[in-house]
């Protein structure tokens, strides 16, 4: 059974329950309690394809989103995000409930999933081969990722490149994609079929709207893939398109310094990054026009498959 199989009122009742609901997203089990109806509605829309977990097992994150009691010093309604009953960051305005849930879950996974190497990268897959897009915030990886997953690529993640140490394969973690500011309208124009949630204005990252992960990507979230291309994107206003190969030592250092837990995993991380760089064709991509960038990536990956 998945979230979409529940009616909204049944999902709300389950999320209010002291044990909440447990869902699976990629390799993780997440238990969630929520007491805010407007957030329940968005979970019903944007997490709709996540399977509900009924059987007992290890839970990776116990999360709760609760209203902060109104106080004369905090007259505006606020929400607290709790992990194991503790708040890892200050309350958010009530109106920013879904971004808070998504950022909070990302934070929880980034701190805990040290049995996997976590690259800071968008990852998409086609024909069993994965394209990794490691980038710093603001370099346009989420925009590219959103465009790719509405153009025949399967979503692995727009944020976490999960690498399994046992075999070096990439694991999917298909989550809602947070588009920011101008990229929201860019994706609305590029992929009108994309299922976007509401725009949340005034967050600490500006205006944010989430793209629902495609149903097929969630249904196939147990299918890993091999890394094949490393492309480091950077959006630069008015720049001509430049897709240029880079040498592997440079690619190694860019991937390693951008990973969430390279230092924690030590030599395991070193060996995994080396295997990925060895296996991939490595490029930098500077772009300003999304359609040009998509065409270049399609040419690159199709020529490799030809």
């Amino acid at each position: 059974m998945k979230i979409a199989h529940l009616r909204k009122h049944a999902l709300a009742r389950a999320l209010h329950h002291p044990h909440g609901v447990t869902i699976r997203t990629g390799p993780f089990r997440v238990q969630l309690r929520v007491s805010v109806q407007s957030l329940v509605n968005l979970i019903h829309q944007l997490w709709r394809d996540y399977p509900l977990v009924a059987e007992p097992g290890i839970i990776d994150c116990h999360l709760a989103v609760t209203r902060r009691p109104i106080h004369r010093r905090w007259p505006k309604p606020e929400l607290r995000f709790l992990v194991d009953g503790q708040a890892p960051f200050p309350p958010f305005p009530l109106a920013h409930h879904f971004p808070m849930l998504e950022w909070g879950l990302n934070l929880c996974l980034a701190r805990r999933a040290n049995h996997l190497l976590m690259l800071h990268a968008a990852v998409v897959e086609r024909h069993g081969q994965a394209l990794l897009l490691p980038a710093w915030p603001g370099h346009g990886k989420s925009t590219l990722c959103a465009a790719l997953i509405h153009s025949d690529w399967r979503l692995f993640s727009d944020e976490f490149g999960l690498v399994r140490p046992a075999d070096g394969l990439l694991l999917p973690l298909p989550r809602p994609l947070p588009l920011k500011n101008a990229s929201i309208d860019v994706i609305r124009a590029f992929a009108p079929q994309a299922d976007l949630g509401p725009a949340f204005e005034g967050t600490h990252k500006g205006t944010v709207a989430h793209v629902r992960p495609p149903t097929e990507s969630v249904q196939r979230m147990d299918e890993p893939a091999r890394p094949r291309w490393l492309v480091f994107p950077r959006w630069v206003a008015d720049s001509p398109l430049r897709l240029e190969p880079i040498v592997k030592p440079d690619a190694f250092l860019m991937v390693a310094t951008n990973a969430f837990n390279y230092d924690i995993l030590g030599q395991t991380a070193f060996e995994l990054v080396g295997q990925i760089v060895d296996a991939c064709d490595c490029y930098t991509l500077v772009y300003s026009d999304l359609r040009e960038a998509m065409a270049a990536l399609n040419d690159l990956t199709r020529s490799a498959n030809a």
Binding site: V247, K248, P249, F252, L253, A256, G266, Q267, F270, D278
Partner: protein
Amino acid sequence: MTTWKRSRHLFASYRWGDERILFLQNSGETHYINPAATMVLEILAQQPTTLIDLSQQLSERGQVLPSEAVLEDLLDRFTALGLLEEC
């Protein structure tokens, strides 16, 4: 006269062309090693070597020689990292 040799500390490495990336097990640090420095490490892995012998071997391998001071700085740096030992 000081002689340097490869350290007993273990390291893992990837090599692409003349460049290497090293992981030092004693410190957990990762380092990029450029082609000239890669050649220095290879020479010192074969046998303990003095600065003069090292310069000569680099020259025989066609390497454009840095000044003696730069080469000595490199050896000191590798020693500090735990890649080399003085003997």
